[in-house]
Symmetry: C3
Subunit: 266 residues, 3 copies
């Protein structure tokens, strides 16, 4: 895979504007992590405002964590605006499969919008891949490894990032497992949402690929490793995570990175 | 009262899913405190999504802090779904009495939904108890002690938790004062909302009782004590509060706990 | 200019209630910074609730960062309620000029509501002043210094606070540059929104003037200086910023303050 350091440098140089329609639980952390990753966040979900803003952005991140009917309409409108303007769309299908509202919202977005990246947890990706996966609330239980990521990438044409104790990234042809990350990341609300924001920065700079999505996942998880070494719990972990991402040295990131190819088919 | 340690261990073992329809000011802190208390949070207020999610939960927390007409409708729908499914309902009547909208919302919820726990500050509980209390904005001024908590518990059949310099818990028959907590808890926005999330974890695990609600209040306030010993102000206090709750040793909690019976009647 | 220390003491003594209709990205930080500045926050945007709450407040802060059509209606209603009740109105025109929705919202508010203070970044104030300014997303690029602040103050009759590497405050007659602040303030989402909350506390206590708005800007930026000396990045900076504002010694603030008169005309 392409090194993190080079991609990270490009992101920091470009400062990509990342339009995010996300949930009200983690939106502040998403804005701050975007800045720490080298991007510039803008959040708006008013249908009379948001599609115009999408046009200024380098990437659009759609996160259905607390979406309501009004916001789903805005997501579709912004997704179309993004497609028209060549803005890359990232989908975070939070809790898909848990309720029919969420599943329908995801189906609708995938039908109406050309989504370049799908980033979800193991349960979400497994369900979207049509495999046996179980979603309880918005957190995943179980999941099914690299095969699910690869299958979903093949079916949708999107690059798929799948998080869990081990993370996976696949474009349907190349699949990698990524093994950085600290257990405290699972003890802070919204680390998944934050990762989608980081992915938005990276694909908004370098385009959507296994390399750019993989670099975003690894960079964020390495920040987690670094923060986890100093934190005393979930509370002190979060500010340290932001600092670690903001201060990250590209060379250190390259060295710390752990991944291997695990393409299931071909 | 039943020891904190045993209840806390049960919560951590069960990891109860707590569905929260809460305000957008403190929702992120509520999610994080839920995790630190041993639970798993889910937030959604779309009427087409939320009642289904309620059915998966162990407790439903309704907080009217920034409720609007749309969200009150969702609260009623979720409250009914909770009652149908045997999911325990906790009400946090933020700012009740300050405006007729808030008072009407609380009245409506109490009429349509079987609420098992009411957790509010001294002003809110006093007003709901029909006593002289004054609410300015969403913070309480004044208040009237154990009698108000006991009266409201008797009138509604709910377990009542009432916070202030001294906290009270009552089911109408047994009433206790609880004396842990640090003054910096009053200098951070949303500690009341966070406590309701913790109460959701505890009653979602052990059912609604003076013991479970009292244990939640004491555990959260002891975390406040521990955080207050190290914090330099409200900013550094909050992450330390989360860490303290997450790392809390049950035995230490039992030792630090301060309470006494103060049943006013019977 | 009037000293910070005296104004700060008055704010802490009064504990002004500041009603804020603000964006869901930074609302929690706005609530906490209000407390740290010595005020008491209340957030509500339901049209059946909010105008009543405005009547209890000392100041009303309108921030259009993530406003939607429903919320703009509430802003107008609350603005009128504030004018009727003698409550001071502060407007933060986030992203004005970036989209027609935002520009129309600002125009509408200025037509329907008597706004006493406008607090924006260089790009926003320049655009409102009718000068060449460029807004990309909600962050400003470029800007035009003291003249823009003074021109907007003259045109609207409001006291104008304009932030950037150097900040300005003007009532159209007196204009000052204010030079405190740390670069990490620009690496945390919502410091502009937080400043508007602090301005709300100060003008809600002492009325809207170059002195009160200038004191709020300086106090907040001095807190930034103090926090920046200890922080290791944007993550640890934010809690330290809150602590610094909360613990601020008036005398230290007076000593650290850097400003000079730069009235362009007269």
């Amino acid at each position: 895979m392409e090194r993190i350091s080079g991609i990270m440098e490009s992101v920091r140089k470009k400062v990509p504007l990342v339009h995010q329609i996300t949930n009200y639980v983690t939106v502040n952390d998403c804005a701050n992590v975007t800045i720490c990753a080298g991007g510039s966040p803008v959040m708006t979900d008013e249908i009379g405002d948001a599609p115009v803003m999408t046009g200024f952005a380098s990437a659009l991140v759609l996160n259905i964590g607390t979406a309501n009917a009004r916001v789903v309409d805005t997501m579709i409108a912004c997704g179309k605006a993004a497609n028209d303007a060549g803005v890359i769309v990232v989908l975070d299908p939070v809790g898909v499969g848990a309720t029919s509202f969420r599943s329908s919202a995801v189906d609708l977005i995938l039908r109406k919008v050309d989504v370049a990246v799908i980033k979800g947890n193991a349960g979400e990706i497994s369900i979207m891949a049509g495999e046996a996966g179980k979603v309880r609330g918005v957190d995943s239980v179980g999941g099914s490894g690299a095969a699910a990521a690869e299958a979903l990438a093949k079916r949708t044409g999107a690059v798929v990032g799948m998080t869990g104790p081990v993370d996976y990234v696949s474009d349907g042809k190349r699949t990698y497992s990524l093994s950085n990350g600290h257990e405290l990341m699972g003890r802070v609300s919204g680390t998944g949402c934050m990762l989608s924001a980081v992915v938005g920065c990276y694909v908004g700079t370098k385009g959507a690929s296994v390399d750019s999505v993989g670099a975003a996942i690894s960079a964020f998880c390495i920040a987690g490793d670094l923060a986890g070494e100093k934190a005393r719990g979930p509370g002190t972990f979060k500010p340290l995570l932001f600092d670690a991402l903001y201060n990250m040295d590209g060379k250190v990131a390259d060295e710390r990175r752990r991944y291997r190819s695990c393409t299931a088919s071909t």
